[in-house]
């Protein structure tokens, strides 16, 4: 594959994503003219560059600055990062399992995060960790669940795929049952738990963007580096091993990186379905199965899809909000079927 064949679609996608980010930051339940949004962005950037925040004199300006800088921009940034994380993880998992139905939650990350988060919410003080308690619990829950699944499925140093997937499904079901029990037992907090489980970006903040960025960058770097090996793996494990690929090491690396991205995304935004499944397929249908393209483009398209889905979620029935996971499924499924039709049509 020539460098150009990656660069062109990647640059075009990044350009489209940037445009989408600007549009999404301009739209919200409070109507602010585009010029005022740009002025607020300008004031903030200039304040950052000059090292001192300019305090706007008028109160109306201060309100616009707060809405743009502390509500919309962190939310849009968080949506993009969550989408990128899920797109990356989905591409990695589908590649390593060589299964089109694989998604980031296949090994129980969602159920583990959901169970731990619901316990944290129900315990009231979030284990005494304040605002950080629930995200931390969700991250640890997701990572620990996948680690347990890997430990249960491994045969010595090898990681057979079928037992791995089965262990993931079984452990996941078990933890999902645990979450249901917590929901039934702690009715007073059920609304809070359910909101979290359905996935939401409503409580975005720069702090959450900051915690999500490093794990997504690390996972992205690892998966991009593994892309060529994933291509070889598509020939089958035995053939790949004969070509000199260290298959078991690759599987473990990809599962670990995918889980890191998934756990980080789930910890800040809850369980948002369909993105990790759909986005890699969309890239594959549009641009082919080459992982060196598939992995980075899944990140960019995932980010764009998520920003778009969140924009719909927070505007269609404002002031109420749709759970963003509902939008990803409702918008995603028909779009996906359309791509599929186009692909199979003569």
């Amino acid at each position: 594959m020539g460098r150009r064949r990656l660069a062109t679609p990647l640059l075009a996608s990044i350009g489209a994503l940037a445009l989408l980010l600007v549009v999404a930051a301009g739209v919200g339940s409070v109507r602010i003219p585009a010029g005022e949004v740009l002025a607020a962005v300008g004031r903030g950037v200039w304040g950052g560059v000059a090292g001192a925040r300019i305090a706007p004199e008028a109160e109306a300006t201060r309100v616009i600055d707060t809405i743009v800088w502390q509500i919309r921009l962190p939310r849009v940034a968080l949506a993009a990062l969550v989408g990128a994380a899920l797109g990356l993880a989905g591409a990695g998992f589908q590649g390593v399992f060589r299964n089109p139905l694989a998604d980031p939650y296949l090994l129980g990350a969602a159920s583990g995060a959901g169970f731990a988060a619901s316990l944290a919410i129900v315990s009231g003080g979030a284990f005494g960790l304040g605002a950080l308690g629930v995200p931390l619990a969700a991250f640890v829950g997701a990572a620990a669940t996948v680690a347990l699944v890997v430990a249960l499925a491994r045969r010595g140093w090898s990681l057979p795929i079928v037992p791995l997937v089965l262990a993931g499904v079984v452990v996941g079901s078990c933890l999902a049952a645990g979450t249901s029990f917590v929901l039934l037992a702690a009715r007073e907090q059920a609304a809070g738990v359910l909101t979290w489980l359905l996935g939401s970006l409503a409580f975005a903040s720069w702090a959450r963007v900051g915690t999500l960025l490093p794990p997504v960058l690390v996972a992205g770097a690892v998966l991009v580096a593994a892309a060529r090996s994933l291509d070889v793996l598509q020939l089958g494990e035995r053939a790949a091993a004969q070509l000199g690929l260290r298959v078991e090491g690759l599987k473990l690396t990809v599962v670990a990186a995918g889980t890191l991205a998934t756990a980080a995304a789930v910890s800040v935004a809850g369980v948002i379905g369909f993105v990790g499944l759909l986005v890699p397929h969309a890239v594959r249908l549009a641009l082919g199965p080459d992982h060196r393209r598939l992995v980075p483009l899944s990140a960019v398209w995932g980010a764009g899809f998520m920003v778009l889905a969140d924009l719909v979620a927070r505007t269609v029935i404002a002031p109420a909000e749709l759970p963003v996971g509902v939008v990803t499924a409702l918008v995603g499924a028909p779009f996906f079927l359309l791509l599929l039709r186009r692909r199979v049509a003569p």
């Binding site: 919200g28 309100v63 037992a185 009715r187 609304a191 909101t195 109420a320």
Partner: protein, 300 residues
């Protein structure tokens, strides 16, 4: 205690409270700090003039404190007093419309302590009180706290006195009457209420005996078999607005034998009655009277 004496006691208590409250006002100095249910200090520099309530019972309490005109926004479910319907709808505390809240420039936001809303609203520079009364005694704590926060301690003391008086009045009427056993159905799962919960406490004060034992917690999921065995004399359907009715209850396997079903004492609450029962707010007296009338139809 006869009703006349009860009213006289209430009047006396009210007068005493006015005196106490006036003393309180003399000492009230701004800034005011109260602790909310998350254990956070909520400090206001001056009496709030632009209040957003994202909890229906708080909306009612703010209005009962004579501060309805200081509300500038409400959550979707706040519908009492009727006038608050005209305020901007800001979603629910669990998925609030943050932009619209900020644009209203509120100087106090009231939220549910389990919603997580405090975690996002505080960094936006807003004063947030997070807490909801879950039990009857907590209602009086909340009235006191909101009264101090709003700079309305006199109104709060009067309100607390009025509510205590209303409760005492109903309790006096049902005192000494035989206590019918009650099953209170929150939804058809069926979820019910424990004796220590807000509604459970009201059932006790209204002269009823909750068939749900104490050790199941405040909102337990009940085995239908248990209800059949407990054989309650009255069944209250708080889920009637969601389509459950006496006929549906009678048709449940085995429920036809329950005393309440045989005697036609399965009571369907309206949406408004169900709201009054479930909101620990200033309509608590109305809630208790409603229950007492259901349990002791001959006494009123």
């Amino acid at each position: 205690m006869n009703p006349t004496r009860s009213i006289r006691t209430a009047a006396l208590r009210r007068a005493l409270l006015v005196v106490l409250a006036c003393v309180g006002v003399a000492h009230a100095a701004w800034p005011v700090t109260v602790v909310d249910d998350l254990g956070r200090d909520v400090t206001l520099a001056a009496p709030p003039q632009r209040i957003v309530s994202l909890v229906p019972s708080h909306t009612e309490t703010v209005c009962a404190l004579d501060a309805c005109d200081r509300l500038v926004g409400r959550d979707t479910w706040s519908d009492f007093p009727r006038a608050v319907g005209a305020l901007p709808d800001l979603g629910s505390a669990f998925a609030p419309d943050l932009e619209a809240i900020v644009a209203l420039r509120p100087d106090l936001v009231l939220v549910d302590e389990y919603s997580g809303a405090a975690d996002v609203l505080v960094p936006l520079g807003l004063a947030v009180y997070a807490g909801t009364p879950q039990r009857l005694d907590e209602l009086f704590v909340t009235v006191d706290r909101l009264g101090r926060l709003l700079g309305a301690p006199t109104e709060a003391a009067l309100l607390a006195g009025r509510l205590r008086g209303e409760l005492d009045g109903v309790v006096a009427v049902v005192a000494g009457l035989a206590e019918p056993s009650v099953f209170y159905e929150v939804d058809p799962s069926p979820y019910s209420v424990g004796p220590a919960s807000f509604i459970g406490t009201l059932i006790g004060l209204a002269g009823g005996r909750n068939v749900v034992p104490d050790d199941l917690g405040d909102f337990p999921l009940i085995d239908p078999e248990f209800v059949v065995a407990a054989d309650p004399q009255v069944i209250v359907l708080a889920d009637a607005p969601y389509g459950v009715d006496a006929a549906a209850v009678a048709a449940r396997p085995g429920w036809g034998t329950i005393a309440a079903v045989r005697d036609g004492r399965v009571v369907e609450l309206t949406q408004e009655q169900s709201d009054v029962m479930s909101r620990a707010g200033p309509r608590v007296g109305e809630a208790l009277l409603l229950l007492a009338r259901i349990l002791h139809p001959g006494a009123f």
